[in-house]
């Protein structure tokens, strides 16, 4: 089922016309309402008269997370505070957090795009959904909640945590849909196994997973373990929260709601727009938001965009799975490393768990070392040191062939790497940079 067929199947030219009208209106609005953007536009020498179509968007300046942090808490709002219906808070890079304000229209928009996403992932009106994203300042829980209501699902607002209770509700209520972070889905599987719950026989058929980057290998693991279809949903609080883009059953990229969130891909160094299909930093402009209007927000997420129509019938462009983040990217000895690359390697090797941690240290000579701590699967334990050492070496070689950098692999005991019920802590950077 396609939730909003008229929009999601709109051909590209008509979509462009809609985007153009909305951009002209956005620039007009912020020129009146936002002191921050008045200043920003003046500084870049652009006025609303320069914006005639969506292609003129490249004339506009970028907005960054630092802009949001520096105007804490409410300075970027486009409406008087009393017209803001909901506030969410997300972590800043340093110092102040980032506050996001939603007008009533923004909340309606949020419900709309998540309803589209849920449908896109295969949920149908009348299904029951277990929302195991955190409810609160984090946008995951409430966003999925509003969208589920809009689509006509029965919502179980579990929030995250209390894993045993989650599993009891799963077994007793038999929801068809699960929404949480992919690492929490793995964590629940582990707990289920300990409790003797037969994961494959559970009722979840569709999992809507987001809020952290995850690999194809992890998808296979979750799908295999729970016997469900694992769908990637994308979003960020600054734009609206989850619902910016979501996969359909084809799993060939995430359909972006481009009628309301205009996507561009730029080179993060030169800031130049890249040709379609190239990987670079995703820049998003929420065209219709009123509570906190933004343009050209730099997401720090690395993606590429495919503008071809999809086999599912939707014409909306598709962004790739997140290939990494410009800011969780680690640089070791001049080489860019995304943790997801290492995860991919580990999942392909028998005997390892997808639980890993990267430890980066600066040696005495100033040379950085990368240690990959990997949990050993119990069934793979051997009494012989040389077997285990060979195993470590094999993992190291596989990682080295992908990263082109020497790594040290250290096997650790199962469950010794810190787990959280939300996002997994993958990187320990001990360098003082």
């Amino acid at each position: 089922m396609i939730f909003n067929e008229k929009i999601e199947c709109l051909e590209r030219k008509r979509l462009g016309e809609l985007q153009s009208r909305r951009l002209i209106d956005l620039v007009k609005r912020v020129s009146h309402q936002s002191a921050f953007y008045q200043k920003k536009l003046a500084e870049s020498g652009v006025s609303r008269k320069d914006i005639h179509s969506i292609d003129d968007i490249v004339k506009l300046p970028f907005t960054t997370k630092e802009d949001l942090r520096d105007h804490y808490p409410f300075e970027l709002f486009g409406r008087p505070l009393k017209e803001i219906r909901e506030l969410h808070v997300t972590s800043g890079t340093t110092g102040n957090p980032v506050v996001v304000g939603y007008s009533q229209e923004d909340i309606d928009l949020w419900a709309e795009v998540i309803a589209r996403s849920l449908c896109c992932g295969g949920a149908l009106p009348g299904d029951m959904i277990q929302v195991a994203y955190g409810y609160g300042l984090f946008t995951g829980g409430l966003g999925l909640h509003y969208g589920s209501l809009k689509l006509g699902l029965t919502v179980i607002p579990c929030s995250s945590g209390q894993t045993k209770r989650q599993l009891k509700i799963l077994q007793d209520f038999k929801p068809r849909v699960l929404a949480c972070t992919p690492s929490y889905a793995m964590y629940m599987a582990e707990t289920a196994r300990e409790l003797g719950v037969l994961t494959k026989e559970c009722s979840w058929q569709i999992g809507i997973f987001g809020a952290e980057p995850w690999s194809e290998g992890m998808r296979k693991e979750i799908e295999h373990c729970w016997g469900m279809s694992a769908i990637d949903i994308y979003g960020l609080s600054e734009i609206i929260g989850p619902g910016v883009a979501c996969e359909c059953h084809c799993k060939k990229g995430l359909h972006i709601a481009a009628d309301v969130f205009y996507p561009e891909v730029i080179d993060p160094q030169t800031l130049k727009t890249l040709p379609p299909g190239s990987s670079g930093e995703l820049v998003l402009t929420p065209l219709t938001k009123t509570g906190m209007p933004l343009f050209r927000y730099r997401t720090r997420d690395i993606v590429n965009i495919n503008y071809e129509g999809c086999a599912c019938g939707r014409q909306s462009p598709r962004i790739s799975k997140i290939l990494g983040r410009t800011d969780d990217m680690i640089i070791v000895r001049g080489i860019n490393i995304f943790p997801s690359q290492i995860e991919e390697v580990l999942l392909a090797i028998e005997g390892t768990q997808p639980h890993y941690q990267l430890v980066i240290e600066r040696g005495r000579g100033g040379l950085d070392s990368l240690e990959v701590r990997v949990e050993l699967k119990e069934s793979f334990f051997s009494d012989e040191i040389k077997f285990l050492q060979n195993f470590e070496n094999r993992i190291a070689k596989e990682i080295e062939s992908v990263l082109s950098i020497g790594v040290k692999v250290r096997l650790v005991e199962p469950k010794s790497i810190e787990r959280s019920e939300g996002k997994a802590r993958r990187i320990i950077d001990k360098r003082e940079i």
């Binding site: 119990e378 334990f381 051997s382 009494d383 050492q389 470590e392 250290r410 096997l411 005991e413 010794s416």
Partner: protein, 143 residues
């Protein structure tokens, strides 16, 4: 006659060895022989205990990665050249020793040495032929 050895994976982390033997002590399990093999980053604790099945269960409950391995406990004359005499037999018969270690206590006047072979059955047959005593499960528990 093979006996059971427990092998326990030990991460190179403070207190891990203590936690393992403490868990066994609490469960009233007596360690008869032990050795630790180590690499730079981890160790493997190998032990022979009086109640191996219970010990394995206790360790797993405490979150340790542990497995069982078949080993052979051999009586060796406690005099100069005693061990060499046994090893010569293996050498002559082309039997490969993966690793070995000794029991703390004696059985009567003989020392007890534990062997891990690549082919235990062949080793046991050769020992029998040369009239060297191999100890069984019951004798190990009784020591």
């Amino acid at each position: 006659m093979k006996i059971i050895q427990l092998s326990i994976f030990l991460e190179n982390k403070k207190g891990r060895l203590y936690e393992a033997v403490q868990a066994l002590g609490e469960a009233s399990i007596n360690i008869k022989a032990l050795t630790i093999a180590e690499s730079e980053e981890f160790g493997v604790l190998r032990i022979v205990v009086d109640k191996p099945e219970t010990a394995l269960q206790v360790l797993k409950e405490k979150g340790f990665v542990a497995s069982i391995t078949d080993i052979v406990a051999v009586e060796v004359n406690d005099r100069p050249g005693g061990l060499a005499g046994v090893l010569k037999i293996f050498n002559d018969q082309d039997i490969n020793v993966e690793y070995m270690y000794a029991f703390d206590e004696k059985n009567a006047d003989n020392a007890i040495v534990v062997f891990r072979f690549d082919d235990s059955d062949k080793a046991i047959a050769v020992l029998a032929k040369n009239k060297i005593r191999v100890l069984g499960k019951k004798e190990i528990q009784g020591i």
